[in-house]
Symmetry: D2
Subunit: 382 residues, 4 copies
Amino acid sequence: MELAESDVQIQLSRRRPGQSALATPRDEKDQVAIQSGLEHGVTLGTPIAMLVRNQDQRPHDYSETDLYPRPSHADYTYLAKYGVKASSGGGRSSARETIGRVAAGAIAEKYLRQAHGIEIVAFTSSVGKITIPSTPSPTSASSTAPSVAPSEDDAAEDALSPEFREILSTVTRAQVDANPTRCPHAPTAEKITARIMRAKESLDSIGGTVTCVVRNVPAGLGEPVFDKFEAKLAHAMLSIPATKGFEIGSGFKGTEVPGSKHNDKFVYKEGRLRTETNWSGGIQGGITNGEDIYFRVGFKSPATISQAQSTAQYDGTAGQLAARGRHDPCVVPRAVPIVEAMAALVVMDMLMIQNARNGAVSLLPPVTTLPKTMVLPKSNGR
Amino acid sequence: MELAESDVQIQLSRRRPGQSALATPRDEKDQVAIQSGLEHGVTLGTPIAMLVRNQDQRPHDYSETDLYPRPSHADYTYLAKYGVKASSGGGRSSARETIGRVAAGAIAEKYLRQAHGIEIVAFTSSVGKITIPSTPSPTSASSTAPSVAPSEDDAAEDALSPEFREILSTVTRAQVDANPTRCPHAPTAEKITARIMRAKESLDSIGGTVTCVVRNVPAGLGEPVFDKFEAKLAHAMLSIPATKGFEIGSGFKGTEVPGSKHNDKFVYKEGRLRTETNWSGGIQGGITNGEDIYFRVGFKSPATISQAQSTAQYDGTAGQLAARGRHDPCVVPRAVPIVEAMAALVVMDMLMIQNARNGAVSLLPPVTTLPKTMVLPKSNGR
Amino acid sequence: MELAESDVQIQLSRRRPGQSALATPRDEKDQVAIQSGLEHGVTLGTPIAMLVRNQDQRPHDYSETDLYPRPSHADYTYLAKYGVKASSGGGRSSARETIGRVAAGAIAEKYLRQAHGIEIVAFTSSVGKITIPSTPSPTSASSTAPSVAPSEDDAAEDALSPEFREILSTVTRAQVDANPTRCPHAPTAEKITARIMRAKESLDSIGGTVTCVVRNVPAGLGEPVFDKFEAKLAHAMLSIPATKGFEIGSGFKGTEVPGSKHNDKFVYKEGRLRTETNWSGGIQGGITNGEDIYFRVGFKSPATISQAQSTAQYDGTAGQLAARGRHDPCVVPRAVPIVEAMAALVVMDMLMIQNARNGAVSLLPPVTTLPKTMVLPKSNGR
Amino acid sequence: MELAESDVQIQLSRRRPGQSALATPRDEKDQVAIQSGLEHGVTLGTPIAMLVRNQDQRPHDYSETDLYPRPSHADYTYLAKYGVKASSGGGRSSARETIGRVAAGAIAEKYLRQAHGIEIVAFTSSVGKITIPSTPSPTSASSTAPSVAPSEDDAAEDALSPEFREILSTVTRAQVDANPTRCPHAPTAEKITARIMRAKESLDSIGGTVTCVVRNVPAGLGEPVFDKFEAKLAHAMLSIPATKGFEIGSGFKGTEVPGSKHNDKFVYKEGRLRTETNWSGGIQGGITNGEDIYFRVGFKSPATISQAQSTAQYDGTAGQLAARGRHDPCVVPRAVPIVEAMAALVVMDMLMIQNARNGAVSLLPPVTTLPKTMVLPKSNGR
């Protein structure tokens, strides 16, 4: 495959700190240099080593953590796990490790785009309580459908508003990047900006959600039982630092919708079976059906805040800890390329597994003894 | 380890159909027989084979699916994946495969209880829009905290109400099983019963959520980066049929809470560091901290409903499909032991990995050259 | 894939005890019944469960092992590993577990034959000191090349005699099965028969070697570094009970041959690069080159013998143990289908991995920027 | 664990080229620098990155391979696998990759020594036809036991001569390194030196074998069925470049010995069950029994030789290739630390797996209901 450092750099630059006033002032260039696996701009099949040097490290920023396990950080749990800890910084629990994910994901993504036309676009769907209208978000129901009297009987027909569906179907990375919040819905982006600035000014932090859509994934990816496509996605997303939740398709909101409304009926169009609606989020029974895959990931408010916190030291002594490091008041905008990267890696993995199966089947003599109800009709374009 | 079929049967019986009027009338006895791995009631270290025979199968119930891929089922995606499908039933995409999970989980659970005093209790936390007060549920905010004027600035202080926290800390399986809904909050259970009966009567179905708490897990479980404890949990939960979402600790609701309120400050009690609050859900940086682990799993409304649905046949012909099989109007109560089982398997896996590490460390000569800030103080009881 | 029980039975019947006077009189029918994964004689992509019932078990045969760990058996090591042991028999350390390998291998083999024309043929190449002439066997050198004065300087030009090469290139299973010894070289088969009968009469046992050839394997299978094709083969073969050694291609004998004679020069024939000789055994740098893969596996003399042995009891008491079970004086003839099965499984695994890669590459746009010395010339037929 | 670069360097220096006149004149310093995972000389539990820079690379040495796939190298097979190849050198198929194995193995080895007193010593046991007396080697029988009339009936009682057993029991790395051949048997070492020098002078190469002993491994390591200890060892050894064979314990020679002589009878000494002989090589039924593990690995003659070879170019044109690179006439002495490293990694892996199990068992309440014949007697010291 043709590959250049620029294919990777573009996503690293979207992840790096210091992109806007909304993010940490640490100005890490995060320039990638490919060390191996390429010649003449073509991958050789050998491992691709990539090097990103840390150019703005200030280890003394972390000195206070000699005494304190930072609240809601991994300092204490790593110490409990290993019995020993590095003298500074969070090591592998620092979100800085996500550079590797983004770099690898960018390569996977290039392949998926070239070979299958797959598009992966993530965006900020909420920050704090501010959310794109009708995102399947905890508090959206009341604010976006005020005229519908909420009742226990109602299906949440508005879980995916037409406005939100439109974003899912059409949003591009250019649209996402048009605003530093990476929220492609302008009125919401404006409110999110204010919310993040307020967190910053109050030496506090705020969380939010990233929604991601993956288009043009072939039907048939994902494995039965344990490695369902959504299970692999959930694993990948919850492995990103600071994540608290994952929803596929209609998600938690969908649990409120009766089956008669939630079911995605089949229709025949464009030479194959499609679904009329897509509450399933492109996955049924753990296996992709060719419709758009979309999911939402929750990120907690960053644990590092500059205001003093009353908390105990490692030895149990009570005290006050105030972080000196430069940190983000909100990680959500920078999390967007990380979510995209992990999504790309999951699609790539599941595709490779299915490739192995498809390649094996393609060499067998045709089977002619089966009832026609057991095989895919010829009228289906797949 | 001592093991009897009754250790397994108890959980299988909680999972089986036909337990109450709320569930499918299929009356599967689901009696387990252990085939290998035991002698004199003690495990031998060899694989434990367990057999559960299907005693009430009616394959003809599924005959209509010869022509129709059932909406929001896996019929179509399995066919797209394999190019061929079984002539009846859903095969591995049927939730009947969860019998194996529950059986395996029951053994893991017995070990965890005996060796570590670990308790795993799951319960129905919502059905449709009916939810235990202050569950971190989509719609709970407005209904349960009416006196607090909702505003974008507010932290969701009520995400875990005292009432809900109390349930998490103390709920037992006996309390859960006291009501067929498996909801341990009596007023909510009553409403849930009505909601499920209504779904049943209208030949429809309804979804909901299961919340699970795991107590007494040692600190230090979970692996850095990709196999964080919550990532493995999310993988396990999203592999259960019909799941749509996963939240750990404060979950999506927690994304709305500023860091200053969301951080779990450390306090010294009972001879070790504990956290004052537990928004983290017992996991920090992907590794357990010894506090209660709790999480929530969303289950969609069952796709199989008895009312007719307009949907296309495999060959594209439009038509009407009405299910004849006997199915649950709501799977949530029966999902409770499945969630417990998968939780037990994850804890067991992560424990085995950490055992390997701890066993290795225990044989090394003591290291004396490290600054004391790099090692766990003796005052910590772990 | 079309599949019938007879596809599996044929190999199980070659493995089963009681086939001839050379083997154990235990007469196990070893009839396979396929339980799942098939309809109308076609595999569905779902797991294929196969059941083989034990029809001639006599557990009391093993009763003496209550007191004695059998010498060179796994009784003691399993007890050391698990701290507990089954009250009778060897459990998973019994070679009876190889039924599962043979059954699975038969399915893999059918696929490989249909899809790639791959042929796998194993045969008895030696028993005790009796060996097919010029097998690369410990003692063959002197007996088969008497006129060549052995000297330290000589290359072992005779390591693969023309006679032996001919067998490798052409031998069929029918030829192998023509003699109960499964040695396709008639004069050697006769001597082997006598050797085994002598072991049987003296209540003793004897070992030997199985040589296996795999023809028509595509070039490009095997993974760099750790999962080289021969490493996976060695792993598979040494996992068969009673194996003591593995050689690929020229093997240990090849270590005596200077590079100038051992190197397989390339020649162009049949539209692609072939090698003139095949000391490499079809694998170079861990990856197949399309030539015949051949290897040899050593099986020790069965540990169970009917003569009394002076050995200690579990509690340390010295004593005399004489086996009462019915056992083979030589396992080599029955090991032939087991070696074939494990070979088939390794080829299948490596093929699936390469399929995943090939499938991925096939969808990329052609790369045009590479110097022609970096790509496979069109004149190569692969 | 305490760890210093010197712990690793010592083995890298034993592997590096240019150590003596017997090896390639490439003078690679192979200095290791530890990049991560350590502070104050103690491992932190985080990944240990080690960097070894190539200081004497001459890529133009390889230029002729632009046209020729080198015979018995991986040039052709890598090209067949990936469809593209690096413009120079062998990439991952170069034995230079074994630096990583040796570095990792040195760390594992330090742990095994500290925690279990495990000793791993490998040595050159043969080069060409020259072998330490009574190594279980192809040609040793006739030359070392001339007075015994060889017959088909004879057991190979001399397979492990007292002389060879003594070496296995006592040999140290200092003794191994006393001679550049790494053969600890002085008369053999002298002949081996001459043999290698002759290969060098004739622009040719020669192979040989490495024997390795691992002492003090706890009983109980290795997994039933597929991951038997010897299967993992065989996998590891055959993954080393240029290997052709693997034998455990009595190996191929042992296949000639009747069971009555080959069985390792149990005796009670030093408070536990030991075996009188050790033909099993410390492993029974795939699981270690606490006796010395010993095995032999065959290395082919290096494929790179300086004399011209008639062989085809990539495009099929016949031609003459003479290597210009600097290469070893015999890799066996330098392979010694590689074999040790891979052995250490296998022991470490199997130990970690058993640790997980032992740790789990240790927390269970004692089982009292089993017949005493099913548990390890107290009189056994394990």
